[in-house]
């Protein structure tokens, strides 16, 4: 495993596409984590919200963030496939 990581790093040093791919993956991971936390926070709010109108609006926001996360996860998987990674270190679940 360690050797593979080392090889990847060496490859990335000489391959600009691969380097960019890794940057995108890192960036996606960070953004997806923020979105996950945002969704979690809104779900908690929804549990305590009893006004039907506000519940509906909040649910719509949750749906939106969820869709963004789904899109992001699909992109991350694609990036990992492009980079030849079979098992990414931490793929968030939708």
């Amino acid at each position: 495993m360690k050797t593979k990581k080392l090889i990847d790093r060496v490859r990335a040093m000489f391959d600009e596409d691969l380097r960019n791919n890794h940057q995108v993956q890192e960036s996606l991971n960070e953004v997806l984590e923020k979105l996950r936390l945002k969704e979690k926070k809104m779900l908690a709010e929804l549990e305590h919200e009893h006004n039907p109108g506000r519940r509906e609006a909040l649910q719509l926001k949750i749906d939106l963030v969820h869709s963004q996360r789904k899109k992001g996860i699909a992109m991350l998987r694609q990036a990992q496939t492009d980079a030849g990674d079979r098992k990414p270190p931490a793929t968030p679940e939708p």
Partner: protein, 606 residues
């Protein structure tokens, strides 16, 4: 304070004057009609600018002798140097003529006006301009109703000339009383004091009567009846020549700096000529005698000799002033400054910023922020709201519904003054900078240019929206008033939200946060159109009102989409680590519609 009280004071003074003297009323109406004619004439000439008229004018004034000839010929034909100078001023205001050409025409007009003295003295003829006013107005107004722009232009010119003539006519009518009181014989004075006195009377009489021809008629009558001496008559003619500039000065009042410069040139020329004529009166009189002798004019025919004098001293003036024409133009340019129009100047996109890619990108970003500030303010005031209302954390519905007076702001004018200059400067800056740089900065500049276009488009949509909005916001129909209030509240809420995005910390202002606004806009759009149809069906609003609402809600959607696109670039791109990923994750309309569809289904299930 002075500005605030000036207009009411003028109104009060005028009103008092009208009450006291009907003559004063006629004179003032004459001035007003005259000025209106000037504006109309300018409008007409503007219709021809960039076309035939420009070519004709350029060709007939491209040399000094041609300008002189043009002035001479047109004044001879129209028999009014005042009219030619006024028309020249309007040509210059419309940008069709330069100052040097204009001054040349004025010099020529001064020579041309001497033909009038010959006509008056020789044949007792005078072309009566006011007789042409009525048919000109009638034909002009008919042409104004035509669709073709050149016919409209001719219409404006005819109406303009008609009003000019009518204005002069009213001024003359009003001054009839004054004219009767000019008993010239009462002031017969010999020598130089007489010269100055009569020159002053000549100036006064011409200012009052608005026509050097009228003064000449007076002089010739007085001279032939022996009321005044020949020398005094000459001084009066000199005075009339100076006094005739008043028409050009009145004409220049409604004109720009170029027009005022020309009026200044006219005044300088005529005063200088007058001073020289008074100083050289004895040699001039001798020359008149010689020329008259040569022309076969009998020694006691003073009226024709007066015409000879008039021509000689104007010719002398032209000969003396021609070499000074360029210095005169320079002086006038220095003394009469260009009108300072309140137009916003770029602060960041300056020549020095173009040297380095990063500073250039930052300069464009800062300038674009200014464009947005102005655009936002125009939209807010254009829709009858205030910044304090929009950005206060309050419910907008109540205060906006309670509004019973809305001030209409001229969005076009504000756009010209606040945005166009900056936008043009940014475009010029980007086109100068972009092509030499690395891809990254060029790309950012490309987005920035689009952001500027988005702001401009949003302002334009607001302009279209404004017309019906201001009309229906004060309507008696509660439903249409409420719907239009909703429309502007939508715009206000977007601006409020964008301001939050702009000022919040980078985490909160991510591109993905803007998707929330897009989603709510789509949802609102769908619900809104359904409500409009319902309002029409239930007879709360007429189908005409409904179609206006549908069109105008499309303008609101335009404002939203343009400002959101702008915000995507301007508010969220600054040094952001994840901006490209966020841009990729941002949902498009189809994806947002899917979310709305799913929410609707869930609602039905419940």
């Amino acid at each position: 304070m002075l500005r605030k009280t000036l207009l009411p004071s003028i109104f009060l003074l005028l009103a008092y004057g009208f009450w006291v003297s009907p003559d004063f009323k006629a004179i003032s109406a004459g001035v007003a009609i005259f000025l209106f004619g000037m504006l109309s004439l300018e409008e007409g000439f503007r219709a021809f600018s960039g076309g035939v008229l420009e070519k004709v004018l350029k060709r007939s004034t491209d040399r000094l002798w041609k300008s002189l000839g043009f002035g001479f010929l047109t004044t001879t034909l129209m028999q009014s140097s005042s009219l030619v100078s006024v028309i020249t001023i309007s040509f210059m205001s419309a940008g069709l003529l330069g100052l040097t050409e204009g001054v040349g025409i004025i010099f020529g007009a001064n020579l041309g006006t001497t033909t009038g003295a010959w006509l008056v003295a020789g044949f007792g003829l005078k072309v009566k301009l006011s007789a042409y006013a009525m048919p000109m107005l009638v034909f002009g107004v008919i042409l104004l109703f035509q669709k073709a722009s050149h016919l409209k232009g001719i219409g404006y010119v005819l109406v303009g000339l008609g009003f000019l003539f009518l204005g002069i006519h009213y001024m003359k009518e009003g001054f009839e009383a004054f004219k009767d009181s000019f008993d010239l014989a009462a002031y017969a004075v010999p020598g130089y004091p007489g010269l100055f006195l009569y020159a002053a009377i000549g100036i006064l009489a011409t200012v009052v009567m608005q026509s050097s021809h009228a003064t000449l008629v007076l002089i010739i009558t007085a001279l032939s009846s022996g009321q005044i001496s020949y020398e005094n008559a000459l001084a009066l003619a000199i005075g009339a020549n100076v006094g005739t500039t008043i028409t050009a000065i009145i004409g220049a009042m409604s004109s720009n700096a170029q027009g005022r410069r020309l009026a200044g040139a006219h005044l300088m020329f005529n005063v200088a000529t007058g001073v020289v004529a008074i100083a050289l009166i004895t040699p001039l009189v001798l020359s008149v005698d010689q020329v008259s002798d040569w022309l076969g004019i009998v020694a006691d025919n003073y009226t024709l000799k007066l015409a000879v004098f008039h021509t000689l001293f104007n010719l002398l003036g032209v000969i003396l002033m021609l070499p000074l024409i360029n210095k005169m133009v320079l002086l006038l340019n220095r003394v009469i400054k260009d009108d300072v129009v309140d137009i916003d100047q770029p602060q960041f996109v300056v020549a020095s910023a173009v040297q380095f890619p990063d500073t250039a990108v930052e300069a464009v970003r800062q300038e674009t922020n200014r464009v947005y500030d102005h655009g936002r303010d125009i939209i807010i005031s254009g829709l009858g709201m205030s910044k304090a209302q929009v950005f206060a954390d309050i419910d907008l519905e109540k205060p906006l519904n309670a509004q019973n007076k809305i001030v209409r702001v001229d969005i076009d004018d504000l756009y010209q003054r606040r945005i166009k200059g900056l936008f043009s400067a940014i475009i010029a800056f980007i086109s100068e900078a972009a092509f030499t740089w690395k891809e990254q900065q060029s790309g950012t500049l490309h987005w920035m240019r689009d952001a500027n276009t988005n702001i401009v488009e949003a302002v334009k949509a607001c302009k279209h929206l404004q017309k019906n909005m201001l009309r229906y916001l004060l309507s008696d129909n509660y439903h249409i008033r409420r719907e239009y209030n909703y429309l502007r509240i939508r715009v206000a809420l977007l601006l409020r939200r964008l301001e939050q995005v702009r000022s919040d910390n980078p985490d909160e202002s991510s591109l993905l946060g803007l998707d929330e606004i897009r989603l709510s806009l789509l949802e609102w759009d769908q619900k809104q159109s359904l409500r409009y149809y319902q309002l029409i069906r239930e007879g709360h609003i007429s189908p005409q009102m409904g179609s206006s609402l549908i069109n105008d809600s499309a303008y609101v959607a335009d404002i939203h989409s343009n400002l959101l696109a702008m915000a995507t670039t301007l508010f969220t791109d600054k040094e952001r680590k994840h901006s490209s990923v966020e841009r990729a994750l941002s949902l498009d309309d189809a994806e947002l519609n899917d979310i709305l569809g799913a929410a609707e289904q869930a609602r039905r299930v419940l």
